[in-house]
Symmetry: C2
Subunit: 72 residues, 2 copies
């Protein structure tokens, strides 16, 4: 497993969960307390997100952090 | 779920996995490429660890990131 794949998997899972809820990135940003552009960067796997921010997203999406990091 | 609990759960899971392998913090530091004092801080939930470093630890411990973040 090459380092850096977890970011990509996490971003894909956040986007999938957000879309399932029918939310825009703006909506997820409001609910998680994070910035909209940051949400976009996370979904693209472009940011080395911290565990606290990962937890904010999981809580806003009402899904476990473990779930968001499950391999495909 | 209060933000900051994921750090604590992750730290506990890293310590448990390390102990199961019979490794010192030094050994895990060598295998993950992270500093020994940083390992100690992570295990105490004292650092807001990034996803890339979480992945380094999971890979060194030969366990999935999702596994390390499972709630008790």
């Amino acid at each position: 497993m090459v380092v850096g794949t977890a970011r990509i998997r996490f971003g894909i899972a956040v986007r999938r969960q957000r879309n399932q809820l029918g939310w825009s990135q703006e909506e997820l940003a409001d609910r998680s307390g994070l910035h909209r552009t940051y949400i976009g960067q996370i979904e693209r796997g472009a940011r080395n997100i911290s565990i606290d921010n990962m937890e904010c997203l999981a809580e806003a999406l009402a899904v476990s952090l473990s779930e968001l990091l499950k391999s495909e």
